[in-house]
């Protein structure tokens, strides 16, 4: 038996793949920013918010972390329109990704917040900082710095998870691969090329975020 591969048939479709990569990265970028923002808010709510808010944030985290992303995506895309909210595939994808990342980021950031030494809080209090000032200037930056590697991992996981968004015809990378294989019937080649590109994206994204975080997000001081 001979297996013949025809990678040329896939690679000649590079504009499609490139477009897919662009969409994947765009979805990831938006979700990363909004998701981490939700994570910070959620972590604050869970550790310092009023009792009812803690419960709500806790329920949100557990609900999202114990259900598959694809079901969350289908719920947003197919379910919400039935409740009167009409969404484009791209919007639905971003919402699902943000909600998903937000829950994981909440847990990650919370772990960082809880590692704050008591003396720091006492020092902030003795400087007469308000609660908000204490949170944003004293507690949050070192907490983020501490958990940044975990956040980066989670962002990479969400980027890889976005492959599922092709199922609701968001035109990201896996959608491009699917489109290519439906044109030339080279399914294995199309998917292996896409998988390779995902691997490269994951490695590059991890490296870029690990590099950029300490420089731009919370200052380069160690």
């Amino acid at each position: 038996m001979r297996i013949t591969f025809d990678f040329a048939a896939v690679l000649t479709q590079w504009p499609l793949l490139l477009r897919g990569v662009a969409w994947t990265l765009a979805l990831t970028a938006v979700s990363a920013v909004l998701g981490v923002a939700i994570g910070v808010g959620g972590a604050w709510a869970r550790s310092a918010g009023p009792r009812w808010l803690r419960t709500v944030a806790g329920a949100y985290v557990e609900l999202v972390r114990n259900t598959p992303f694809i079901v969350q995506l289908f719920f947003v895309f197919f379910g919400l329109p039935a409740a009167g909210v009409k969404l484009s595939p791209e919007t639905a994808s971003v919402i699902a990704m943000v909600v998903n990342l937000g829950a994981y980021a909440t847990e990650i950031v919370r772990a960082g917040l809880e590692a704050t030494p008591r003396g720091q809080l006492e020092a902030a209090a003795s400087l007469a900082l308000t609660r908000a000032q204490t949170f944003f200037h004293v507690v949050l930056p070192p907490a983020l710095r501490k958990v940044w590697p975990a956040l980066v991992s989670q962002i990479v996981i969400v980027m890889l998870g976005s492959a599922v968004c092709g199922q609701i015809s968001t035109e990201e990378l896996s959608y491009a691969a699917n489109l290519i294989q439906s044109r030339n019937f080279r399914a294995f080649e199309a998917f292996i090329v896409a998988t390779g590109v995902y691997l490269l994206l994951a490695l590059a994204l991890r490296r870029a975020l690990n590099w950029a975080g300490p420089r731009f997000l919370f200052g380069s001081r160690a």
Partner: protein, 217 residues
């Protein structure tokens, strides 16, 4: 038009959830066996084995599970074997699970103090005996909570098998939606059923973590 009651929807989803559970068990057990083999291979310390297992883990953790499923589906077919979604999903999820478990367990073995290896070696135990009698029993204790916790990831991962036509909970949800035109209700129920499967496991893993940690201090 036939009317579907809430019970009809839930009953059919529950029936489909059996296959989610079955596939999860296959992936977990298969992944455990392959993962253990990878771990032992890596612990032999040969540079070649280290590089191979490292690359294996990197590939499966750095690519989407969905792509792995597609590749298993179309890849096995290349050999002229007729693949059912069952086979493809089992193969892909087993490999995926093995990569994560190998990595989790490697961390647990690394957490066993180096002195234990040295002590075992000074007792003239060979590599096999060192692993079996000294290292693995200690690593196992540390490994239980994260391993149980990872089971949740596996259960959620099986949802992707719906994309290659495996009829489990998610796929059943899609089919029922097409019949009932009530996506909000159906996908809501699907999500709740996954939650019912996963949340107890999450809680159990967290409980184990607390228990074993306290004992450890």
């Amino acid at each position: 038009m036939i009317d579907f009651s809430l019970w009809d929807v839930v009953r059919n989803l529950l029936l489909a959830a059996r296959w989610t559970v079955a596939l999860s068990l296959i992936a977990f057990i298969g992944g455990g066996v392959v993962g253990l083999a990878l771990l032992v291979l890596r612990l032999t310390g040969s540079r070649w084995a280290e590089a191979f297992v490292g690359a294996y883990v990197q590939v499966f953790q750095g690519t989407p599970l969905l792509m792995q499923l597609f590749l298993a589906y179309f890849g096995i077919a290349l050999f002229g074997i007729n693949v059912s979604p069952w086979t493809a999903a089992s193969v892909a999820l087993t490999l995926y699970t093995s990569a994560f478990l190998a990595e989790i367990w490697r961390g647990c073995v690394a957490a066993v103090p180096k002195g234990q290896w040295e002590a075992a070696r000074s007792l003239a135990l060979d590599f096999h005996e060192q692993l079996r009698h000294v290292i693995l029993p200690q690593a196992l204790r540390i490994a239980v909570p994260p391993t149980v916790g990872f089971l949740v990831q596996v259960v959620k991962g099986t949802a992707l098998a719906s994309v290659i036509g495996f009829v489990e909970l998610t796929k059943a949800g899609t089919m029922i939606t097409n019949a009932t035109f009530r996506p909000f209700l159906v996908y809501g129920c699907v999500a709740l059923l996954y939650f019912a499967l996963c949340y107890p496991v999450s809680l159990y893993a967290r409980g184990l973590e607390k228990k074993l940690n306290v004992a450890h201090r």
